[in-house]
Symmetry: C2
Subunit: 297 residues, 2 copies
Amino acid sequence: MKAITRIEQSLAAVIATTEAPGCPPKLAGAIQHAVFPGGARIRPQLCLAVARACGDGDPVLADAAAVAIELLHCASLVHDDLPCFDDAQTRRGRASVQWAYGESMAVLAGDALIVLAFDALANAAGGSLQRLPGLMRIITAGVGMPYGIVAGQAWESESRVSLTVYQRAKTGALFVAATAAGAQAAGADPAPWQGLGHWLGEAYQVADDIRDVVADPQLLGKPVGRDAALGRPSAAAALGLGGALDHFNQLIANASASIPECDGAAQLRELVRMESERLVPLTMSRAVRDRLPAAAN
Amino acid sequence: MKAITRIEQSLAAVIATTEAPGCPPKLAGAIQHAVFPGGARIRPQLCLAVARACGDGDPVLADAAAVAIELLHCASLVHDDLPCFDDAQTRRGRASVQWAYGESMAVLAGDALIVLAFDALANAAGGSLQRLPGLMRIITAGVGMPYGIVAGQAWESESRVSLTVYQRAKTGALFVAATAAGAQAAGADPAPWQGLGHWLGEAYQVADDIRDVVADPQLLGKPVGRDAALGRPSAAAALGLGGALDHFNQLIANASASIPECDGAAQLRELVRMESERLVPLTMSRAVRDRLPAAAN
C-alpha cells in the first residue's frame, strides 16, 4: 500500500472515533474540517519513510506515530489561524476552521486533536509496549514546551527572538519528531535520524517564507504577505529573497547528506529531492532570480 | 506525606520542565500562572485516594496520573476563560491567564498543558509499562471527543442540548477519569471505580450551578451569575434552587454508596463527606432554603 493511502486511511479511522452517536455535532464537523482534505501530509510521510528505512518493525505503531504527528500539525494550524494569531480566513484553499465553524469551535477542535494524537498512540502500542514512552517523549518534545511548536508560536509574542530559535521550535521540532518517531516506532535508535528532520524542517520554513513573498495565493491556498504584515521573523526578510533561496538549497543538501546508511537511504534521498521541488518549484526559483535586482537586495 | 503535598510537589516538578533556558518567557509565565496557586485540587486528590484505597501499587505512576488530570483540568479552565467562551477576567481569586497574559498566551498555555499531561505519564510509566495504554485511554476519554470535557464545552455552542449529557461531559467525565485512573495506576480494575467519579462529578457540577446563583463572588474567586447571563444549561435553572440542593444531596449519597468494599473505603467516604461540605457549606444550604419562597420556585 502506498504511504499516502496508509496515512489517509489511518487518519480516517482515528477521526471516525470522534463522531460517535451523542457527540456534539459542530465540534465533530470542525475536527473533520481540520484534517480533511489534507495538505501534502509531508510529516507523516517522512515518519513512515524513516520507519520503512529502519525495517518497518511495527507498522501499526508507525502508522499511529504518523497519525499523531499529523493530528498535532493540524491542531497547530487550527490554533494558528485563530483571530488572536493569524486571523486567517483560508487554509488549504478553503475556509479555515475558525472561519467555517467559529472561534470557539476552532479552539476546541485543536484541543481535541491534541488529545486524539495521544489516544492513537495508546491504541496502537500493544505490540511494542516498551517503545511507547520513548515515542511519546519524542512527540511531546516536538509540540510542547520548552522547544516544540507551541514554543515556536509563543516566540511570535516576544519582542526579542532569534530567527533560528523561532524556526527550530515553530517548524523544525515537529519534523525532528517525525523522523525520530519513525525510527522509534520501528525499534531503531531515533538519534541518528534527528538530523534529517532538523534540516528538512528548516528548509520547509525557509520555503514557506519565500512563498509568502512570491507565491500566487490561489496556488498556495492561503493569503501571502502575512509575515511582513504581521512583522513575523522571516528568512526572506533577514537574508533577502536570493539569500533565502541559497539557504534553502543548502538545507536540502544537508538533509540529503544526513540520511544514515541503510537499505532505504536511496529512496529517502529521492523523497527529499521531490519534496524540495514541491516546496520551491524550479519556476519559483527562476522567478526569485528574475526579481533579484529590483526586489531582493 | 499528605496527598496534597505529593500533588503540589509533583506538579511543581513537571512545570519546572517547561521553564528550561531558552524557552519563550511569557508562555512559561502563563503556564505557571495557570497551575499555581491551585484550587482545591479535588480531581488529583480523588485519583490518589482511589490509588491508595487500591493498595498504591505504583505511587510514581499514581502521582503522574493525578498530575496529568490536574494539568488537563487547568488547561480546560484556561481555555474556558478565553473571550470566545466565558471571557473571564478572574479565576481562583486573581486575574485569569487570558487577562494577565493575553489571549494568545492563554491559547498556547492550554495547549502546552495538554501536551505536558501526556509527557508526565510517559516519564512515570517505566515501572508498570503494561498499565500505560489503559491509563492513557482512561484520561483521553475524560478530556477528548466524543464524551470528554472538550465535548462538554462544545455543547455550550449547540442549540439543543440535554442537561445530563452536557454535565456528564463538561464535568463528570474528568471525575470518572480521576477515579478510574487512580485504580488503573495502582494495578486494580478501574471499572468499579467509575461510579464514584460519576456521582461526585455530577454533584460538583450541581454545586457549581448553585454557587453561581447564591455565592459571594469574593469568596468564590470568580464572577457569579454567568450561567444565566450566558444562557448556559444549569441545574439551578432547570430544577430551581431548592430542587438543585436536594439533587446535590442525593448525588453525594450515591457517591458514598458507590465506593467498592476495600481497606480504604471508610477513608474515601470521609473524603466525600468533607468535599460535600466544602462544595455546599451548611451556611449556603441554609441560605438557599431561606431564599426558597421568594427566589427559587
